[in-house]
Symmetry: C2
Subunit: 731 residues, 2 copies
């Protein structure tokens, strides 16, 4: 016994040593030479992709090398007041901060360095050709366990604002926080012992940083994270191989293990077989080559242009587009051309994904805290990886890079983070045929071509595809697609007939020993609508059943549209109701069409889901912005993040729900519309090992904004304009 | 005075004579020589398009001639038990009937001649290569004011079934009914006098046949229709120029005017300016040539085949497709291939648009009755005009013709009624990237290519685009797009500031003197799901909030999936609820996946609307199939039309709602799922003069039907497989 024990300990420590050596070699350090860091995919240490996977499968299929495109952003300069900070500017911020007394202290991390957008009235007044507005950076830093918010004036080189100490939660994690958190448990002997006891080679370990949420005193005054791990032996899809029940609580600031909960020792680790989704590891005889090549072709090239790197012009639309570390994609100053006057008319000052809320529905020890806020905790934009040309976006897509700052302030480039492309899938813009009844020979139809702005954020396992789709008829469709990989739970069961009560499984048995846990997704959009100017009103156009008076009509009932203008915020806290429906308009009460209708846009909900959690449940307090599907607030530059600026471990004291409770006036004011898309997800076997995309969307649609159909005069397709193509092979 | 009066009368009668001559020349007669009638677009008298429009505008733009494609269907033969009747078979039916005693009487009209599908068990047993099942036609005829239902055996040449007299409503109108109804008022001097008094040249008159609905005794025992008219002076879009308040009640059998209601003499006819939507009449300088050519290209051609004219095979799907005079498109025997076993597995025995319900929301004299049932009254398929290649469907579309019978039994061809094409708009089938957190360099994405079956029915003014979209992941999306032209109301107002109470307008002022009246659209689908066989169950998987017990978890609540198997029909009368949501599964209780889940499909609602009319309102009684969004009934070959087989002037005594009230057992039975898509439409100025398409859809989605993601092994796009294109102009 004694000898065996010694041997065990020896093997254990040897293993730890090997693993530590392995990771230390790859540990993310702050870079020293900025000029080498211009493409994340190749240079930046934290984002270097060292493929740690040692697949034991024989790769049969060769994937062609991914096309990559490197733009040199070193000489980028800002042209528009809303342009994001350039590499030169980020370096300047870093240099200004480095001489600031706060950063003389040894340990600091910059959690956010981004443009502080100029005041809205200044931006509205600004025209191309005008002098650029003063450039300022907004910085959120952690220094010695405290959060600081600073404004750096790039013109004067001064820190002009410096606040600290009054915040509830914590800033969004840095990538460095996340990466080091996944490695930190390995410094703990108990943790390593458990891993080995579960039969896992430490070299096969993959760990994920899981935000803790806030559940009471235990989470107070410490920036915490939970880490759970998986075996990546035999598969790139380690998510399907959970080491169930093992949760490490870490202090994010000290990187020290606070507590290890180890409750799933009797739960086997699911097998690797059939979990890998990569094309390169599929057996050749299993590949389904079922479709001939198909492509969207534009022989004269796409119809959009991108001026000064960020100003997108397409058809009758024009808007400013930029990547953002937290929101992902930000659309600003969206304007559409009036076909009658030729004028570019304001539609939306700013629109972006403000927050996500993803509660899992398992209250047990290793699962209850999984109630992610993907933007405020992880950075929705930080998680948006390079898009894969021809597969994530079609052939003629333009790719836009993100330029962000690492924790030490060093700029880096996220290549191909956003794509812009024209889409035509065969849909019809408008049509009419005359039937033989009237004897006219009319067949008029117009193809529908749209412009799509896309990004895809991979927040660990899950992939969110966010599309902003602009239509020539003035409609903007905002679509969220869910794909990627489920967060699954290990179980001793390998067949449902062994399960006493399936309802208590908290999900679906997807494969032997694998449960797909039920969860929701909520994606909340900030939509600062400016319909022909900033002062707008929100109108609930209620569709009401009216009963006729006796003798009035052979009909007993009909529907009436009753317009209710929202006076204050509480009037605009909207829960959608199938049997008490409304249209929801944002109008400009001061501007009317020729026949007298106020110009407006409406938000048109698509399929959605509502959060059903108890309002007093801690995660729902933090995610209280999902208590309604629609909210309207008065414009306030400080109210942009629905879960609060400091969402990490927040207690729900600074959300859209708390702002709206102030019930401020919103009639004929500069107002912001908030819309939440929701999904309930009960996993099914088709989601294993990777999920076919599920999408939902909502629309912003002109309603009496134009005098008439704005695409009446677009021409039909004719044969002679379409391309002449050959299959590439035959060329 | 006397002389002036005489002159007026003279002018009036002269005009009438001219008009009558004009129409008589074009009056639809039954054709005599069948062989000349094979293309509706050129030969059949009723569907000949004699352009009655005499545009006074100068046509500036020349439209290229529409490509037409004529298939000769004279020698078509049936290959599959569900193939529609061929021209030869329709001629045989006509000849068999002509020797039947019933049709020796002088006046008769065939309202429906179509395949009587063989019994389902026989069809299920039938395999390609087997002898074709006996061919029978189902005929609905009106003879001397009575409705007859007959079965004609094409093998024996006998009428085997002949029923009459037990029907509530009337059969769907023939095209001849509709065409002659629009002309009949001209035989009435009062009508013509009114038209002339309103200042309309009789040659500019366009009239529409409007189903009357059923509102009580007045409609009993007479087949009635209402006719309303428009001025087409100066525009092809006469719908925008209503002669408001003038309604002619006609007896459809005698074609005689029963009553004229003329109440809108003080309402001006709206102007023609800016109403014409045809490309050819747009002024050149107004045309918006804003986009470069764009096309879906497939250099190796499309990936689908159509065997024996009706059997569509694409990717992993296979189904039978046919045009239908009433339903439009019928999809039968849809099967998807299991990627593991290679087996073609049953998904749906039959799916089609069963009925539409379109109530307008104006209870006044000229509007209250507008509560259309477009399939059962007008024939949704009969109204599906030829699709316009390159605009209604993209380049590589295949077009399928409809073969129908005219009122005298003569077959005719509706060319290009359905199109089949592959769609790729840039969407993603599935994807996953690894973030730097795990250090793996993974970017895997697969493009989403789908197969679309499309038809577009122009039920007078409105256009309904119905898409059945098949995805390789097993999902079927059923999408309805609304376009075409509004049904508008004349008004003296030309600005909203003149209107005392806009809520009483029953709609929106769209242009001077034009109100777009509020209305709803409901489209009810018949979906005979056969999940791996006919005996299936319907499961309401309810998503329920659970509160945790004190001390059980830091969480207070979570969601649980509670499965309720519907025992009888009333268990499956479903109203969707955002705050009490469910998934709705059709499962095969006898077949389980490897890990024990029952195989199934779920119906996934998209954005929808519910009918809010009073349940006792006459139109809602007839449209009671919209009282729920989902119903499930046991399979019954006689229950296919949600508003009843004889929907015209029905009283609601034979609808899906009445069948479902019988509360028959539906557990582990051959069941039919019914889903209703709904739209509330408050018109807006953008809908004038023609509406940009508005769409809504729902999905049939595999849920534990496959063992795992069925498209895991499809390959990504690579550059070398994509086409090489040139702009046509440069070739």
């Amino acid at each position: 016994m004694e000898a065996r024990y010694l041997l065990r300990v020896l093997i254990f420590f040897l293993s730890v040593a090997v693993v530590l050596f392995f990771f230390v070699v790859h540990l993310p350090y702050a870079p020293t030479n900025t000029s080498e860091l211009l493409d994340c995919a190749t240079n930046s240490p934290w984002c270097t992709s060292k493929n740690r996977l040692q697949s034991k499968q024989t790769n049969i299929l060769k994937e062609p090398p991914k096309p990559t495109r490197h733009r040199n952003h070193k000489s980028d300069t800002p042209h528009h007041p809303l342009d994001p900070l350039t590499i030169q500017e980020l370096n300047k911020v870093r240099s200004i901060l480095s001489s600031h007394e706060l950063f003389q202290l040894s340990a600091y991390a910059l959690h956010s360095v981004e443009l502080e957008e100029p005041e809205k009235p200044l931006v509205l007044k600004w025209k191309k050709g005008d002098r650029l507005l003063p450039r300022r950076a907004s910085v959120i830093a952690r220094v010695n366990g405290r959060t600081h918010v600073l404004t750096v004036d790039l013109g004067t080189g001064q820190v002009t604002v410096h606040e600290t100490g009054l915040h509830y939660g914590y800033p969004m994690m840095t990538i460095e926080d996340m990466t080091t958190a996944t490695l930190a448990p390995l410094a703990n002997a108990d943790f390593n012992r458990t891993i080995i006891q579960r039969g896992i080679d430490l070299a096969d370990l993959a760990c994920l940083p899981i935000s803790t949420g806030w559940y009471g005193k235990a989470e107070e005054n410490r920036r915490l994270i939970k880490v759970q791990c998986y075996s990546m032996e035999g598969t790139a899809n380690f998510y399907m191989r959970p080491i169930e029940g093992l949760t490490v609580l870490l202090d994010l600031d000290t990187k020290r293990v606070v507590e290890i909960s180890d409750k799933g020792r009797d739960i086997p680790i699911p097998k690797a077989a059939n979990t890998d989704y990569r094309y390169s590891v599929q057996e050749f005889n299993q590949v389904m080559n079922i479709l001939n090549p198909i492509s969207i072709e534009q022989p004269k090239g796409p119809s959009f242009t991108i001026e000064d790197q960020h100003l997108v012009k397409w058809a009758n639309w024009e808007f400013h587009l930029k990547p953002d570390a937290r929101a992902g994609v930000v659309i600003s100053r969206a304007k559409v051309r009036d076909p009658d006057t030729g004028e570019q008319r304001d539609v939306m000052y700013k629109g972006f994904t403000s927050e996500l809320f993803v509660p899992y529905m398992d209250p047990t020890d290793a699962w209850y805290f999984k109630t992610y806020m993907d933007a405020g905790e992880y950075g929705f934009g930080l998680q948006a990886m390079a898009l894969d040309p021809l597969n994530d976006c079609p052939r003629n897509a333009y790719y836009m890079d993100g330029v962000f700052a690492a924790a030490d302030g060093t700029p880096y480039v996220r290549s191909n983070m956003i794509c812009v492309f024209e889409s035509y899938g065969g849909d019809i813009g408008w049509r009419h045929s005359e039937s033989p009844i009237t004897g006219m020979d009319i067949r008029e139809a117009r193809p529908k071509v749209t412009l799509v702005i896309r990004m895809a954020a991979s927040v660990a396992n899950y992939d969110y595809i966010v599309d902003w789709e602009f239509q020539t008829d003035g409609l903007i469709r905002i679509k969220v697609g869910l794909s990627g990989i489920l967060m699954v739970k290990g179980t001793p069961y390998d067949n449902t007939d062994q399960i006493p009560n399936q309802e208590d499984l908290h999900g679906t048995l997807l494969s032997e020993n694998v449960i797909g846990v039920i969860h929701d997704h909520y994606v909340t959009f900030y939509l600062d609508m400016d319909i022909d100017g900033s002062d707008n009103s929100f109108v609930d156009v209620n569709i009401k059943r009216q009963l006729t008076s006796p003798g009035e009509s052979p009909r007993r009932s009909y529907l009436k549209a009753v317009r209710n203008v929202a006076k204050t915020e509480k009037d605009a806290q909207i829960k959608l109701k199938l049997y008490d429906p409304s249209e929801f308009h944002v109008i400009n009460p001061s501007k009317k069409t020729r026949v007298g209708n106020p110009v407006g846009y409406k938000v048109v909900p698509g399929g959605t889901a509502a959060s059903l959690l108890d309002h007093e449940d801690p995660p729902q307090k933090r995610g209280a912005f999902t208590n309604n599907q629609i909210w309207v607030t008065p414009y306030n530059q400080n109210e942009q993040w629905a879960g609060g600026l400091f969402a990490y471990q927040s207690q729900g004291e600074d959300t859209l729900a708390t702002w709206s409770e102030r019930d401020r006036p919103i009639e004929n004011k500069d107002i912001v519309l908030w819309y939440t898309l929701g999904f309930h997800h009960i996993p099914c076997q088709e989601d294993f090992p990777i999920m076919p995309t599920v999408s939902s969307s909502f629309d912003l649609k002109p309603v009496n904004f134009f005098e008439s159909n704005p695409i009446l005069r677009i021409p039909p397709n004719v044969e002679k304009d379409l391309p002449v193509c050959k299959s590439a092979a035959s060329v």
